[in-house]
Assembly symmetry: C2
Homo-oligomer: 302 residues x 2
């Protein structure tokens, strides 16, 4: 994967303790910070997403990373680059989507707007860490259980429908076009877990998040596939199990927490070993990091 | 100007007290934050800038905004979108430029890397406000003097040379390709001025910065053109006075400070009235906001 190779070059060169998690935890400032970009025709196509949905989703993508850190999303900056044919109405709708995604307690405080050939959206989000126990993907502890915040595979199923110009089932399309960051889930964990724990969002798929936590924490995650929640409607696809495991952009959270925490949906266990074991009703498959990397949707390989 | 129209739509919609200055001052976190993007073929062309210079300049552009706020630049996130033909060597050189621009006291703590058709760089910078008096473009006070940190017009002169494939004078090219944020100048002002004051960088040209301060602070800035420092070599251009006033990307700082502060180069005075008066040896021209806006290089009008 070219993207991962590039990230390794950058990590080696910058030699920063902060690079590795989706958010950097800046203790001296009491914040976590994340920065993600969405590029037209790579991450989205204007054929099927409205300006409102694009604004909404761009914000949610970044709030999701803050939620995964355990921090309280507080501030955003939005940098938007747009072709010259973009209208005032488009801009208004886009920012209305951003504003709705921010609800009443998150504020857009800056950014810029420039020209470009295609639409580029780059958002930086800041979360407050006060009175929160901040996660790290390196911190899964043997004996903890693995929990998730919601259903998996719907966003990838929605994208498949959109790419075939299908408009039903609407809720699958909506999962892809208007995902919701699991802010309350992250908040509950960060306020109620008082030991080290791992938490990530499933932006690149559930299996990728599990694999990253397993490899960064040097543990084995034993997952019971039948316990992973999914919407039955995705079973219209032959390979729906792949959508559940490898489909991206559900923006659910996955966390390793003490067994006694009565919260979320338990899908597995943290054990000694390395990688991810997935138990199906009739078999168990071991996935190494490279097995999972091969299945991840990669924007560089399109 | 389409860009300004869009900004007004966004301001109206978001109704945020933070939007207006180049940096947002988040008092509860003790930071200022800025976020600017550079787009290939809009803000730069790979024909004449090296990956190292591009990384260096992209960082400096954002550090300049933090310096203008009066804060101490501390952290950056870098989001980079690149076409599939970009090599590992390119990535390494680009981040080497970023790292050198950060020196030893500013750290890149995160960001992302994605695919795209063209190169797109989006950087978010954070400055610490502790023990600093933070500026606002709204805060120029009548009776203050107007000072600048250095020479003006060299970057625009360098760009003119580059666009004609000329390689001399080298220092003009370097002004454009490797501008230096005036961090120490900003620091001195923020630590030694203890009244309200305005400070901006000259990313969009000196006249634009003066006009913005004048209009946001509701004052007249009376400027003595002959006192504005410039490199004599730019006088090879017939319209070199325009380069000094309207040429962008010098990334110098302009500030309004008490008369008694013995620092910087005085170029004028804050008076009652509105707009910018520029005194030349033989005449005085009054520039309204719209006069200046018409002369500003606008990325949307290319």
């Amino acid at each position: 994967m070219k993207e991962k190779e590039f990230i390794n070059i950058i990590k080696d060169l910058l030699n920063s303790k902060y690079i590795g998690d989706d958010c950097a935890y800046l203790k001296d400032l009491g914040i976590t910070i994340t920065h993600d970009s969405l590029v037209e025709d790579i991450h989205f196509k204007m054929d099927y997403i409205t300006p409102y949905q694009l604004g909404y989703k761009s914000v949610m993508v970044n709030l999701s990373d803050i939620a995964a850190s355990g921090a309280q999303p507080a501030y955003l900056t939005v940098s938007l680059s747009i072709p010259s044919d973009i209208t005032k109405e488009w801009i208004k709708e886009f920012y209305e989507g951003c504003k709705i995604a921010c609800a009443n307690n998150i504020e857009i405080v800056g950014g810029d707007i420039t020209g470009s050939d295609k639409i580029y959206i780059s958002i930086c989000a800041i979360g407050k860490t006060k009175e929160r126990n901040i996660s790290s993907r390196k911190n899964a502890q043997i004996g903890q259980k693995v929990i998730v915040s919601g259903i998996h595979g719907s966003s990838a199923a929605g994208l498949k429908l959109l790419s075939k110009n299908q408009n039903e089932p609407h809720k699958l399309l909506k999962s892809h076009l208007e995902p919701k960051a699991q802010i309350e889930f992250g908040e509950y964990i960060a306020k109620n877990v008082n030991v080290q724990y791992a938490m990530m969002d499933t932006s690149d798929g559930l299996a990728e998040a599990l694999s990253t936590i397993a490899n960064e924490s040097n543990v084995l995650l034993e997952i019971d596939f039948d316990k992973i929640p999914h919407d039955e409607e995705i079973e219209i696809f032959k390979n729906w199990q792949d959508l559940v495991l490898f489909g991206g952009e559900d923006y659910q959270l996955v966390a390793t927490v003490p067994e006694e925490l009565n919260f979320g949906t338990k899908i597995g266990q943290v054990k000694t070993g390395l990688g991810v074991d997935i138990k199906y009703s009739d078999k168990k498959i071991h996935y190494t990091k490279s097995d999972i990397d091969k299945n991840i949707f990669n924007h560089f390989n399109q």
